[in-house]
């Protein structure tokens, strides 16, 4: 590397963090559909299913927020730190989800089937929902929703 090239260890990304707004959107939509998911889960697995569904949704939304916060915090510092935080953050977040589920798995109100299904369905469902809006605003920036005056 020549001296006029900037190093990834010192180069950061200035400007607003889009991850935070994406994760805020995901959480907003997640909270919007949470009662419906809990209801469906309650119908299928009973009251335990509804509680487990709420717990799983909390885990998924917290996971999104943590991922975004980690990237937004490290991006202005350096790209290398951002990459490290993304990779190790993935492992740490996976470990935290594992720990959270291990801690509650023996409680009487936990239905593991409801918990597992909700984690997968919520994670993928929210991402596909968000992707629809992101794709539209990337392809047609003029249609990007702004603040109402």
């Amino acid at each position: 590397m020549t001296s006029d090239q900037s190093s990834p260890f010192t180069t950061g990304l200035a400007g607003p963090a889009p991850e935070l707004s994406v994760s805020r959107d995901l959480v907003k939509r997640g909270l919007l559909v949470a009662p419906l998911f809990c209801l469906i889960s309650g119908v299928i697995w009973g009251l335990d299913g509804a509680f487990s569904c709420a717990f799983a949704m909390g885990l998924v939304l917290l996971n999104f927020l943590m991922a975004a916060a980690l990237m937004a915090y490290t991006a202005p510092i350096s790209l290398a730190l951002m990459m490290g935080a993304s990779l190790f953050g993935y492992l740490v977040r996976l470990g935290l989800i594992f720990l959270a589920v291990m801690l509650v798995k023996d409680f009487s109100w936990v239905s593991l089937q409801a918990l597992g299904c909700t984690i997968i369905v919520t994670h993928l469902g929210l991402l596909f929902w968000e992707l629809k809006y992101i794709s539209a605003s990337l392809a047609f920036p003029g249609l990007k929703p702004g603040k109402q005056k």
């Binding site: 990304l13 991922a67 975004a68 990237m71 993304s86 990779l87 597992g116 984690i119 991402l127 990337l138």
Partner: protein
């Protein structure tokens, strides 16, 4: 040595042997499920850095797409985790 002795004792009992095999398989599946997304996130991030270096003005768009890509890749690990939980404890 104690673990080996327990394994040998369990081998005599088919139900216990089945439980041990299920636990081992579930752990193995979870481990395998976590490797793929790790590689995937590395590839996504590497390409995103390259894209931002080539076109710094598109960094916001690239970061948004990268974040969603990473989240989709993580879903694979979560599926592996759920399969592990259901195989082992349900």
């Amino acid at each position: 040595m104690e673990a080996l002795a327990r394994l040998a004792a369990a081998a005599a009992d088919p139900a216990e042997a089945k439980n041990i095999a299920a636990a081992g398989s579930a752990g193995f599946a979870y481990g395998l499920a976590a490797i793929g997304p790790g590689i995937g996130i590395g590839i996504i991030f590497g390409n995103a850095i390259e894209a931002m270096a080539r076109q710094p003005e598109a960094a916001g768009m690239v970061r948004t797409t990268m974040f969603l890509g990473i989240a989709f890749t993580e879903a694979l690990a979560l599926i592996g985790f759920v399969v592990f939980i259901l195989l082992k404890y349900a």
